[in-house]
């Protein structure tokens, strides 16, 4: 159903501001991670704990933003170049945030501090903090995966949605490194956090399925270039994100 034409400017204004909210949230997440990187050397446990909490709020807010955008897109077509540009910038910043978060995590896991925490009972047990950090990392991946598949129905230009859904994220390598390091630390400390191991398992599946998905996508694109046919399945916004394939 198409809604009343005279209200289209109001709907466009709403969507533009919701998209700007998404952009501001991506920036907030990025700045929070950068602030943690800066003060990490002084008190890494507190810095990481508080960052994890703020990022959880960021995820909740982002989820609400995308729920509203999807709700509107189901009843009203609002595709425009301006919204495309805002969403694309937001996605780029979100990629940057995930990369910096994983680099920060790698730095923390490689530092000697993580090994000394367990001996000091006044401090946080490593598997508690690790579980919290893995949960935050998983939240970021989940947000990325669910957002990526909604772009197709929102973006005006097929080029924009194609760029978002077909470019392999550069942070898959630091993510693999984080998974390996966390696994090693947990095993070394005989930690019995089944939750942490469950996150490690889920992240491994994520890396595998995402790599396979992009490999498939690139081979499909090659075929499309040769035959000239479009990939209908990838353009469907209701396609289930790979994160739900378990």
């Amino acid at each position: 159903m198409t809604l009343h034409s005279s209200t289209s400017s109001e709907w466009s204004a709403i969507v533009t501001w919701i998209a700007r909210e998404e952009l501001s949230l991506s920036k907030l997440v990025l700045f929070r991670i950068r602030a943690s990187s800066k003060t990490m050397d002084q008190d890494d446990l507190m810095t990481l704990k508080s960052m994890a909490k703020t990022l959880t709020y960021g995820k909740m807010s982002q989820r609400l933003v995308w729920d509203r955008l999807t709700m509107i897109s189901d009843t009203f077509s609002f595709k425009s170049g301006e919204i495309d540009a805002i969403l694309l910038e937001s996605m780029d910043i979100f990629h940057q945030a995930i990369t910096e978060f994983l680099n920060l995590l790698n730095k923390h896991l490689k530092s000697n501090k993580i090994y000394t925490v367990e001996n000091n009972h006044k401090e946080l047990c490593p598997n508690v903090l690790l579980t919290q950090l893995l949960s935050t990392a998983w939240d970021l991946l989940e947000s990325y995966d669910s957002i990526r598949f909604r772009y197709a129905s929102l973006c005006a230009g097929p080029e924009t949605s194609k760029r978002i859904s077909s470019v392999q994220p550069g942070w898959l390598v630091p993510l693999s490194s984080v998974i390996t390091l966390c696994h090693q630390i947990l095993l070394r400390h005989s930690a019995s956090s089944s939750e942490a191991f469950s996150y490690i398992h889920k992240m491994r599946s994520f890396v595998l399925s995402t790599t396979l998905l992009f490999r498939q996508h690139s081979s499909l694109s090659d075929r499309e270039d040769r035959t000239g046919s479009g990939n209908k399945e990838m353009n469907n916004s209701r396609t289930k994100p790979s994160i739900f394939y378990k």
Partner: protein, 111 residues
Amino acid sequence: MSMPNVPNIRPDIQLKRHDVLNLLLSSIALEEMGLSNIINAEGEKLQKVIHAEESSSKDLMEVNESVERMMRIIIKNQMLLQFKLEDVIKLEKSSFQDEYQDEYHDEIHEE
């Protein structure tokens, strides 16, 4: 129990259903604009910590606490906006259907 007295409001407000919908949509757009600006301002607060030459983890904790408090308020507002948006979409759909039915009946009547 007596009925309340409705005050005699002047001048008369004469709004059609369509105008009401537009006003509701404008109010949602303004609220979204406000939220977007508030989130942006919270990001700028964090940027201050990043750009400050000497910022301790205590400074970051203080700023972070304020950002977190604001984020909680933002999330509550976003939920209310979502409910409002759902109701407006429902209203818009029903008014569109009513208009369509009226036009259809008028055409039949003319024939």
